[in-house]
Subunit: 142 residues, 2 copies
DNA sequence: TCAACAGTTTAGAATAATTATAATATATAA
DNA sequence: TTATATATTATAATTATTCTAAACTGTTGA
């Protein structure tokens, strides 16, 4: 699902009915240049700012989960108290700014491939991801 | 805070009154050979199994947070819906078994030091941690 | 075209983890 | 021992998320 797409067709192909709520949410999420990292609350705020019509919070949850299940969004756990979603669904690394609570994607060339030497019997590795926590120099512990 | 310690003295040194609830919780958490990864619910269950007296859930939360604030426990976010705590407070890597939802510590020698080539202006790196998600070969997607 | 049906949206209730409250109890300093 | 600051507790409140059930809408095929 890329920028400036016909989300009506895209949703249909995916097996999701292109309701106007879903099309709007797709436009907000995917019509942008850079990866978008957001919480449900961020998205709800953006919807109420950019749209005249309200979309029910339940629909926002439903749609985000539907898009996640179809592979267009990825869920990221950083804080225990809220869930982040990511329009970059590939396995990738993040910087997490502890001051602003913002996630920043890390390009492949910015972190050397992580070499995992251990393996757990009977289990296969699904992903290897790095989280780099950053903050201003004045230490404010979390 | 190590195995077989005098937790009464240890708590006092830390500036925490050694109440019998806190001493009991410390015994459960720290009198063990290996790192302990747990949720509040895990700990509450263990307390009710191993003890005759009940400890209020609020006290369990209070104590775990007090120990975290004093640097004896570390909080780990893997799932958005529950918080893990870790008796290993060092910066270290984890395997996460998606089948059993168990965390496993990764020794330093099991993952090569991660080389972060990017830096964010005005921010210093607090930690670099790797999460390796593993599951059985029969793919059950999360 | 349009009725019928399945899938969707919605407000509000329910749930679950966590935190706050405020009364009671306890540890410790004087 | 007494006074005081802290801690424990039951319970209420909060917050993120999910559920429910009724109303609504996209799609299909007569
Ligand atoms: Mn939480
Ligand atoms: Mn949650
Ligand atoms: Zn990302
Ligand atoms: Zn650990």
């Amino acid at each position: 699902m890329l920028k400036n797409m016909n989300f009506i067709e895209k949703l249909r192909e995916t097996g999701l009915r292109p309701t106007k709520q879903r099309v709007k949410i797709c436009e907000i999420l995917f019509n942008r240049d850079k990866t978008f990292h957001f919480t449900i609350n961020d998205l709800a705020k953006k919807i109420s700012e950019e749209l005249n019509e309200k979309i029910s919070l339940a629909t926002i949850y439903n749609t985000v989960h539907a898009l996640k299940n179809k592979g267009y969004l990825k869920e990221i756990s950083i804080n225990s108290d809220k869930s982040y979603f990511d329009t970059n669904t590939s396995v990738h690394h993040h910087f997490y700014d502890e001051d602003t609570q913002q996630l920043i994607d890390c390009d492949e060339n910015e972190i050397e491939t992580v070499n995992v030497k251990k393996n757990i019997t009977g289990k296969k590795i699904n992903s290897v991801e790095v989280l780099v926590r950053v903050a201003s120099n004045n230490h404010n512990q979390n």
